[in-house]
């Protein structure tokens, strides 16, 4: 009879044995995350170097250095308060909306410093789109929701075609093609979120940022969104924040694990702990803290 507490059982069994038997360190996982091909060099879309974010001088996240790549899904995981949402909102300058928010370090997008003084946030957001945690359709018709972006951006072309293309890409066209004039508020939560994704797709961005896109949805809608992400990966680059580890394991190519590293003046400060291909993060992470988190020891 072992006297060690249950939580240490996993540590006692040698790692190779665990892998061989298909039991993953991440408890509850059914399948192994697919290994991502790290041999061929990928085009970098984001390159972060010693990035930190402060609100009114108080740091929220610091020490972030890693790259994100084209046509991949990069997931940010970690316990609450570790700064993942804060960080993703830097990528499209949405943190500008919060008074007192400052960003240190360098965030480079295709080689350009996103926070250089001559950069226009409006231009940034045309290329880096965002889907929010709680679906936020406009109080207008489905058609008007999708058409809004292309219209204000002055995109040329037949608006009906643009709307249809966006809705098809978001796997929503068949469901709504007969009710384009209906108010978007009448849709279910899952449909609304796909509408928000379609709205984002309509402006033909380069990158799509998703801040916990499925956390407000039921499991079936969540599954639909995850399938959608995997389809979209072919044409877009996706960054997703999720508190659901299994989701990260299911969809992402690479995973960044953030953790709360200290508590300053009562506020939690987060930092990047590990960034690796998802397969590695969930089966053979470099850092012990990562291992503890994905095995459910905390968070």
């Amino acid at each position: 009879m072992s006297e060690t507490p249950n939580t240490d059982v996993a540590a006692e069994v040698p790692r190779q044995e665990r892998e061989a038997s298909g039991i993953n360190v991440a408890s509850g996982l059914r399948e192994e995350p697919a290994a991502v091909d790290t041999s061929t060099p990928k085009e970098t879309i984001f390159s972060l170097n010693d990035v930190g974010v402060q609100y009114g001088g108080v740091p929220a996240v610091e020490d972030v250095t890693f790259d994100m790549f084209k046509n991949e899904i990069t997931a940010y995981i970690g316990p609450s308060g570790c700064g993942k949402s804060t960080l993703i909102r830097c990528l499209n300058r949405m943190n500008d909306l919060i008074p007192g928010a400052t960003v240190t370090g360098t965030i480079a997008y295709h080689g350009q410093d996103l926070y250089a003084s001559n950069i226009d946030p409006v231009q940034v957001r045309k290329r880096i789109g965002m889907v929010f945690q709680k679906p936020n359709p406009f109080p207008k018709s489905i058609f008007e929701n999708i058409a809004f972006g292309p219209r204000v951006l002055g995109m040329k072309g037949n608006m009906h075609e643009i709307v249809e293309r966006a809705l098809r890409r978001a796997a929503l066209w068949d469901e709504v093609k007969d009710r384009l004039k209906h108010n978007a508020f009448g849709m279910s939560g899952g449909q609304q979120q796909r509408l928000c994704i379609a709205r984002c797709l309509a402006i033909e961005p380069d990158v799509i940022l998703m801040d916990e896109p499925a956390s407000a949805l039921d499991p079936i809608s969540t599954g639909a969104i995850e399938e959608l992400m995997l389809e979209l990966k072919e044409n877009f680059s996706i960054v997703i924040v999720t508190h659901n580890m299994q989701q990260a394991a299911r969809v992402s190519d690479r995973t960044a694990f953030f953790n709360v590293t200290k508590v300053e003046e009562g506020k939690r400060v987060g930092a990047l702990v590990e960034f690796n291909p998802t397969h590695k993060v969930f089966t053979n992470p470099d850092d012990k803290r990562t291992e503890d988190y994905v095995s459910g020891k905390f968070g």
Partner: protein, 322 residues
């Protein structure tokens, strides 16, 4: 935003690779700035208005005091600017007295009735009853003051005061004017008080009920005192409204300022005087006409002070409950 430290290698986009994200001076960006400027200008109008009021009043008031000694004005008890020769007198006290006297009469009506209505609506009325009574109070609040003045002159005086109550009042009397003034401010007092009562947290009431207090006791000993500063604010706001009211007094109160407590005779407040003088045929440059500005300025200062007091009480109330 803090500028990023540019690390060597990141700068202008590599040729043919990166997108152009730089700020440009497009028509859109320029119009954004222009729009912001226009919006700010509109907001500044409010400041211009206040400045305008103060300057227009002050200017002419100073002129007035060039011709009438300020001591005579502030402390004189005889207001007779239109009389000829020696009878002409510019003591403003009768007007000020009348203003506060009428306000007092009005509050005598409005405060008990208004508070009672507010307590009833906030604490006792069922939602259905509330839904019928509240809009009615709002309708009352929306009645133009000239209509109330008409009502005071042609109904309250002859029918209520003379016939019903048998009081010997003149055609123009302070009692009718004061009563209707009360009707004017009653909705204000009722609605602000009701807001104050509703803002008192339920927990306070429940605590008292839990000790076995009756509804009356909870309302009078717990809720009412808790809402007190909000209620005082309501009273001061009502008073401020009454002080500035013109037409009711003009129509029902007559044209003779009276430094007396006699309600059966005419009374004239500052505001009513201003309106009446403007209706008359007085040459605009004359001292008599300047009285409009002097009295107007006095009235303005008084309402400003009352308003500041009311805001002070509202703040105190908010501090406790928000």
């Amino acid at each position: 935003m803090a500028g990023a430290d540019l690390i060597a290698g990141f700068g202008s986009p590599p040729g043919g690779g990166g997108p152009d994200l730089t700020r440009k001076r497009t028509t859109r960006s320029v119009s954004e700035q222009v729009i912001k400027g226009l919006l700010a200008a509109a907001a500044v109008l409010s400041v211009v208005t206040t400045t305008g009021i103060v300057i227009s009043l002050l200017n002419e008031t100073i002129q007035f005091f060039g011709e009438v000694p300020i001591g005579d004005y502030l402390f004189g008890t005889d207001w007779n600017p239109l009389a000829g020769g020696d009878s002409q007198s510019f003591g403003v006290l009768p007007l000020v007295f009348s203003t506060f006297y009428m306000t007092g009469i009005g509050l005598l009506i409005a405060v008990p009735l208004g508070l009672a209505a507010a307590i009833y609506l906030a604490e006792y009325a069922t939602p259905r009853v509330r839904k019928t009574i509240k809009p009615t109070l709002e309708v009352l609040a929306g009645i133009p003051t000239i209509v109330l003045g008409y009502f005071a002159l042609t109904y309250i005086t002859p029918v209520i005061l003379r016939d019903l109550l048998g009081i010997e009042v003149q055609v123009f009397n302070g009692l009718a004017a004061g009563i209707v003034l009360g009707i004017l401010v009653l909705p204000t007092i009722a609605s602000v008080t009701e807001d104050a009562l509703s803002a008192v947290p339920r927990a306070l009431r429940e605590g008292a009920f839990g000790m076995g207090a009756t509804k009356r006791q909870v309302v009078t000993r717990v809720v009412f005192p808790a809402a007190l500063s909000g209620i005082v604010a309501a009273l001061v706001l009502g008073a401020s409204r009454a002080v500035g009211e013109t037409v009711i007094i003009l129509v029902a109160g007559g044209a003779s300022p009276n430094l007396s407590f006699d309600l059966t005779g005419p009374q004239q407040t500052m505001a009513a005087f201003i309106a009446q003088t403007a209706r008359g045929d007085i040459s605009t440059g004359s001292t008599e006409f300047l009285t409009i500005y002097a009295v107007g300025f006095t009235l303005f200062v008084i309402t400003l002070v009352l308003n500041a007091i009311a805001i002070g009480f509202v703040r105190k109330f908010r501090q406790v409950y928000e």
